[in-house]
């Protein structure tokens, strides 16, 4: 009996090691000499073709979860956002330097999964070879921006002059781990945790108190454990992503991992019909790195510290989320149509759909980002900003006019600055249950829920208690 058990353990041990080995460094014997993406394409052309159609490459896609897109494909590439505004045109790629020769910006493509060419609608050999497989699949891969012989720019491995080192990195192919995803997702919006608020570089190796799912002393889950879809597509779009990469495989806590009644206390399980997990289990976000809560592009100044002109921004750390209803659909500000304003007059960049009376809606946790962007006086269209022009010269008026020309083809414009608001779902930095919100965090006078804003007359618990008397 002991022998059988020992043998079983040995076999299981070998199986576990084999799985790990299969996940990492399985290209040791395939990549003899890495010569760019064409090396990957020799075996993975089919995979590259699937990747071409994804949001990670196209930066736009089908929008079944938007209520006002009119069926058009939208995404980062075609919209105007309240952080870096829009990546197309001159800000796609290129080095902007100041008088001291310091590089101020390298372009939005620094986080595109390509090597510098913008994504095209039609697949081609050039587009396939433009993909940078290593940015997502090779541990220890780093790249930088280099001038090309024809006067353009391209992203290249920083090891391009060290073939031995480059080969070593190119052989470390694996399913993306947290570090690889965080390379781009933790520094979007211009710096560490600027944009998302709940996707910090700390998630590379967080303690359980920071995130129960990703902690190595917790579940040690990777991003793809939840977000992996079919054919390189990603599951889950949050609230403020325009396109949905995997419409047939929506992502939810409930179902594959947790039941609809996961608590051991009935009173808590009674919440799950109307309250999303995030509302209680992410009491605060941006717990390590402050996040950008307000970005005013109309109020610019020269930063001696950074050696460049900058917008005015307000950062906050350990932010208590805002709470709102969300039924899985969103309303976004579509470019080239008159802006929608909320009651305060702010242009709604993204709003979650749903209300108390919508049975599909639940209360979710949000980061509410505010900003100030230009709007055309006559057409009332939102205008992006030519950020590279701005960083170089600090002339924000010129940067708005240049963007209007490159984005809309308009050379004569009048515009005004307008407040903006954007709701961003908070889904990460889930704390251990002992640190989740308790009853009185919400159900007491002055608690964190704004019941009126959620459509109630007052605390709904009080109504229930009153009715039961």
């Amino acid at each position: 009996m002991r022998i059988v058990m020992l043998t079983t353990l040995i076999i299981l041990g070998f199986a576990a090691s084999a799985t790990e080995a299969a996940n990492k460094n399985r290209h040791e014997r395939f990549v003899k000499n890495y010569e760019g993406t064409q090396t990957c394409l020799k075996c993975h052309e089919e995979e590259a073709e699937t990747f071409f159609h994804t949001q990670h490459y196209q930066w736009r896609g089908a929008t079944p979860d938007l209520v006002n897109s009119g069926g058009q494909e939208l995404g980062k590439l075609s919209m105007v956002n309240d952080f870096c505004t829009n990546p197309t045109g001159p800000q796609w790629i290129g080095k902007v330097k100041n008088a001291d020769g310091k590089t101020l910006a390298k372009g939005c493509s620094s986080c595109h999964s390509g090597l510098g060419k913008p994504p095209a609608q039609e697949i081609s050999r050039e587009q396939l070879e433009n993909m940078d497989c290593l940015i997502c699949h090779a541990s220890g891969y780093r790249r930088d921006l280099y001038a090309t012989e024809d006067g353009g720019w391209e992203w290249k491995p920083i090891l391009w002059k060290n073939q031995e080192g480059l080969n070593s990195v190119a052989r470390r192919i694996q399913i993306p781990d947290r570090t690889m995803c965080l390379r781009c997702h933790s520094a979007s919006g211009g710096g560490p945790n600027f944009k998302r608020g709940d996707i910090e570089y700390t998630l590379k190796d967080p303690p359980r108190s920071f995130d129960v799912h990703m902690a190595s002393d917790g579940k040690d889950m990777t991003c793809v454990d939840c977000h992996e879809g079919e054919a390189h597509r990603v599951r889950g779009r949050g609230v403020d992503m325009a396109a949905t990469d995997s419409p047939d495989a929506p992502l939810s806590c409930e179902g594959e991992c947790h039941t609809a009644t996961p608590h051991e206390i009935t009173a808590l399980d009674m919440h799950t019909d109307r309250v999303n997990c995030t509302a209680c289990h992410i009491p605060t976000f941006a717990r390590d790195e402050p996040t950008d809560m307000f970005r005013d592009w109309s109020n610019i100044y020269f930063s001696e510290e950074k050696g460049k002109y900058v917008y005015t921004a307000e950062f906050e750390q350990n932010v208590v989320p805002a709470y709102a209803w969300f039924n899985g659909k969103s309303r976004v500000q579509v470019p080239g149509v008159p802006v929608d304003r909320i009651e305060s007059g702010a242009v709604a960049i993204v709003l979650p759909e749903g209300s108390k009376d919508d049975p599909a809606a639940k209360i979710h946790a949000f980061k509410v980002h505010r900003g100030k962007l230009p709007v055309l006086d006559d057409k009332q269209w939102l205008v992006p900003i030519a950020t590279e022009e701005f960083y170089a010269h600090g002339d924000i008026d010129k940067a708005v006019r240049e963007a209007a020309e490159s984005f809309y083809g308009m050379d004569e414009i009048e515009y005004s600055w307008n407040d903006t608001i954007r709701y961003m779902g908070i889904f990460h930095e889930v704390v251990p249950r002992e640190d989740a919100l308790g009853c009185l965090d919400c159900h007491r006078p002055g608690g964190r829920m704004d019941w009126q804003a959620l459509g109630y007359d007052g605390d709904p618990l009080e109504d229930k208690l009153r009715a039961s008397r």
């Binding site: 870096c84 590089t103 101020l104 910006a105 390298k106 372009g107 939005c108 620094s110 986080c111 541990s139 220890g140 891969y141 780093r142 920083i158 090891l159 002059k161 060290n162 073939q163 031995e164 080192g165 070593s168 990195v169 570090t179 965080l182 390379r183 781009c184 933790s186 520094a187 211009g190 710096g191 560490p192 570089y201 590379k204 960083y391």
Partner: protein, 119 residues
Amino acid sequence: MKTTLHLTMAAFVGVLALGFSTLATTPAASADGKELYREYCKGCHEEGSPNGEYTPMSLIQDQWTRFFDKKYTRTHKSVIDEKHGGKPVTETISPEDLELIREFSIEGAADSEHPMTCG
């Protein structure tokens, strides 16, 4: 490839030491690896240097480890560091400082993980 690397390293250290000639500057005891790297290494290995440009990002962690473990002494012992008293580099840089330079190089190596930024 290996030969080229050896030669480059040797040249790197050689010119490194030659470049630091008469100024017998001793970095403060609290100096970190980056400061020490600048003090002892950068002068001979800046961009365009005939000795080869070397920053931590020039090599991967394994290559830096191999360099410090197996090549450093061999390639630097006969390189005179004029800037720090005219002694061989290997006698100029204390074992403690060398350890800090090593840590700095490995931590910032080309295959060390860092988030991407656009600026």
